[in-house]
Amino acid sequence: APSSPAARNEAWVSAFPELLGPARYALEMYNHGRAAGTRAALGSVRGRVRRAGRGMVYSLKATLEEPPCNDPTVCQLPVAKKTLLCSFEVLNELGKHVLLRRNCRPVETKVTDDRNETLSSVLPLSNKAPLPQDFSVRMVSIFKEFVTKYNRTYETKEEAQWRMSVFASNVIRAQKIQALDRGTAQYGVTKFSDLTEEEFRTFYLNPLLKEKPGRKMRLAKAVPDP
């Protein structure tokens, strides 16, 4: 635990590169004892870090992707639920990691979640309409165009599949934003379309702006006449 209230308040940050080491360690612990080909892969990661004595404690929320499994006597999860949402706490002290806590539960894929949400609440015109039958085929095609246009490479087939599911989810998110926009803007596939919202915020945005009051600046002088 942090040594003082001040220590609790400082150093809470969110940064993907810093979280990768502890996240990989947590994954290694999760996969401990599993044979190659049956190990889970890391999906998205977000988290925070706080000081604890001479070390740092990383609180992580990560999605893990279980490889497809068709043998119910062997599989840890039913075939339909391959994504896990995990909470980890990892202590890093003097360069060594220790897993303090682990809690994982299966979740539905984001595509399914978003599809339901889209159809039920956000787009009234398509309230009861199912997704087109060729939705998956079209999505694969759009994703391939995206990968080519933005020169994306993914390390494993599993990561590519995960990125495509994020991409599909994002296409639906963009449609929601489009439906709710009151201007003339067009939303759709951009170079950020294979990132989860958490990744996008972590990589590209600036959480300090809403957390900290800035140094007080003097107000600019008013213009004296029109």
């Binding site: 940050v13 969110s14 940064a15 993907f16 933005y150 994002n170 998110r173 963009a174 934003i177 709710l180 926009d181 009151r182 201007g183 003339t184 803007a185 067009q186 939303y187 759709g188 596939v189 951009t190 170079k191 950020f192 379309s193 990132l195 919202e197 996008f200 915020r201 972590t202 990589f203 590209y204 945005l205 600036n206 959480p207 300090l208 702006l209 809403k210 900290k212 800035g214 140094r215 007080k216 600046m217 003097r218 107000l219 600019a220 002088k221 008013a222 213009v223």
Partner: protein
């Protein structure tokens, strides 16, 4: 003030830059403002260093975020900004290697602009350049939701999707005008020219959308 104004047409805006996978928008927002102010006062458009701010502004947190108000203070304290060529961008925290001898631009002060968005249009307009209020650009940080998928056109998101209470991005106002009677702010972003309209975002003007009228600021040269 004229009905429309665009500092890009006056040669006062450098090309769109790319912050990469680093939350350094605050640095790009501030250097963009200083580039513009220096151009107005000295007539030279210089592309200035964001990496200097990442490395040497010890109050802010480099890729983990920062505040424009702190960055202005850092520029003043350090003694200026080097150019992009002399202190180039790497998108991660490095050891500060600022050299006062290489500083090409300095600022004297910084100011905050009024929260009345309607009165910010004159602040971008010509003819008022002797006043700090005449800052051609300000840093109205905008929340992110629509930005991840924005492609073109004038964005006017629903308030919950772009709430002024959840500001997490800093950008640069470079102009204003109307497209088919829809008033807009022209906003320079720092995500490369392969995002948005050649790197720019167009936001509805006059409605306070995305908190564009909060936290706006400018350097004083």
């Amino acid at each position: 003030a004229p009905h429309e104004w665009d500092w890009r047409n006056k040669g006062a805006v450098t090309k769109v830059k790319d912050q990469g996978m680093c939350g350094s928008c605050w640095a790009f927002s501030v250097t963009g403002n200083v580039e513009g102010q220096w151009f107005l006062k000295r007539g030279a458009l210089l592309s200035l260093s964001e990496q200097e701010l990442l490395d040497c502004d010890t109050v802010d947190k480099a890729c983990l975020g920062g505040l424009p108000s702190n960055a202005y203070s850092a520029i003043k304290t350090l003694g200026g900004l080097e150019t992009e060529d002399d202190y180039s961008y790497h998108g991660h925290l490095q050891t500060c290697s600022f050299s006062a001898k290489k500083a090409r631009v300095y600022i004297n002060d910084s100011v905050e602009l009024t929260q009345n968005e309607l009165s910010e249009a004159p602040a971008l307009a010509p003819g008022l350049t002797d006043s700090p209020r005449a800052s051609p650009w300000s840093q109205p940080p905008t929340p992110s939701s629509p930005l991840q998928f924005y492609r073109r056109g004038i964005s006017h998101p629903l308030r919950p999707l772009c709430s002024p209470w959840f500001i997490d991005h800093a950008v640069l106002l470079v102009g204003y005008g109307n497209r088919s009677d829809t008033p807009f702010w022209a906003i320079k972003n720092s995500w490369g020219s392969d995002w948005g309209e050649e790197g720019y975002y167009y936001l509805h003007r006059g409605s306070g959308a995305c908190g564009v009228n909060t936290m706006a600021s400018s350097a004083v040269v």
